[in-house]
Homo-oligomer: 281 residues x 2
């Protein structure tokens, strides 16, 4: 499959979310074959991430967005957790603090941007400022509309600084969300995830879909594409996300950097040190 091509929104594209089927699975199903494929991708991802870290020249920013229960935490757990925490950081953006609100909306985001060699996952992101803030009228239309440009300026700055940007919209249906809310109610291990606003937010479903669609259409570029991932099937969501990440990193031609020292010399030092040790015995 080439999920990357299938789900990418690139420079100039204009999409309609209603034309994307959240149930799409290309006739694949959750079985040993697809599980094996995900494992293969995950292994490749960890290899690429290690090379990115060793190279210390470029970085990767993964933005995860979606409705409540769309599977952001799931993607982090299944696809990204195996990466080496030494060069991988997950950054969640919750309701802004008083200090964050005392600055422009990108202040807290910029501070969390990846350093060279790092993979950073944004669990929610600056896009909340054109989503929840728009839907609930926290800022007037003039303000959130302008933010598309500020977001594009900001992502262009990162991209120019060798940050590869990949943005996933985890696309689920209204019915699937309700099903997952029910699971949270019935499974004591998931009760903690239930929040007061789960159901009250559902009445804004269409407004959120519109806000996502507009954000995707205004802020998709070849250097920072959005991917609309059919996410009603968790196995498929994980498969698509990991394949897209593998393809993205694969394209970067990550190579282990050459050794910076004279190995013959170091081997000689090792030999001497060993000799010394043996004499002492």
């Amino acid at each position: 499959m080439n999920f990357r091509k299938k789900f990418a929104v690139r420079t100039g594209d204009r999409i309609k979310l209603s034309e994307f089927d959240p149930d799409e699975n290309f006739d694949l199903s959750k079985n040993e074959d697809t599980a094996e494929l995900i494992r293969k991708y995950t292994k490749q991802l960890t290899e690429y991430q290690f090379r990115l870290y060793a190279e210390n020249r470029r970085s990767l920013l993964i933005v995860l967005q979606g409705m409540d229960a769309a599977g952001k935490d799931g993607v982090i757990n299944h696809v990204l957790a195996p990466m080496n925490p030494l060069g991988c950081r997950c950054q969640s953006f919750k309701t802004p603090t008083e200090l964050e609100l005392a600055h422009d909306f990108l202040w807290r985001i910029h501070a969390a941007a990846p350093r060279r060699g790092e993979v950073v996952i944004f669990n929610r992101s600056h896009y909340e400022d054109v989503l929840i803030q728009r839907v609930h009228g926290i800022v007037p239309e003039k303000v959130w509309r302008e933010r598309y440009d500020f977001i594009n300026d900001f992502e262009r700055l990162l991209a120019r600084n060798n940050v590869t940007i990949v943005k996933f919209f985890l696309h689920i249906s209204r019915e699937e969300q309700l099903k997952r809310f029910k699971q949270r109610l019935e499974d004591p291990g998931r009760n903690w995830k239930i929040s007061e606003s789960d159901y009250s937010e559902r009445k804004y479903w269409d407004d959120y879909q519109q806000a996502f669609e507009d954000a995707i259409n205004h802020c998709s570029f070849d250097h920072a594409p959005w991917y609309v991932i059919p996410s009603n099937h968790k196995f498929f969501r994980n498969l698509a996300v990991s394949e897209i990440l593998v393809d993205t990193l694969g394209e970067m031609d990550l190579e282990m950097p050459p050794c910076k020292v004279d190995l013959a010399e170091i081997r000689e030092e090792y030999r001497k040190a060993k000799e010394e040790e043996e004499k002492k015995r």
Copy 2:
């Protein structure tokens, strides 16, 4: 005088630094009158700053740039130090650290941006990235040229977030710089300011002037003007800078915010507390 109008570079203006006389003083001289005027401005500044702090809605960013010995530290000491440190912060930008270099050039700058209610002074700034980095070829032309746009995007973001931006280029002559270097040599109290690069940098004087001129011409807007301040005369530099700041803050119509509590009620509480205290005695 209206120094603000005289020295401002605004949207669309194109200046030549060679046409600005660093010796300009409009026939004023260092005497009790001008000293008194500076004191008056300084007092007004501290009043405005307090209101900005109390209002907690907008902020002020002052960018100071200039050749070595142009008087950046002097302006901070004479004009800005009287402000209340509670709502005023001075941020110096030195050679970037390894962590700062591992991010885009605006990363460390954005992190230091003023919060609501704050006055922040940038002692050097993001402009170094189109000055020293250009003059010494630390980055190729393609890179520093693009930075003008990134700087403008960034300052527009701040301005939209109610940050008033004022940028001062302290303009001195080559001869004046040499004179000041000599003072540093002769005054043991100033020896610590001497750096190895003082004289070696002087041979890049013209390159720096060109870099400053281009930065000013590319990055001057009504919402973030540069001011070219004749700075050979220290008293005049202080006078001009403080007048411009007073005028800028004056235009913001800063008012003490209304009291948020019922004063009559609080007075009654005070009366009761006092009564209680007196009974106990």
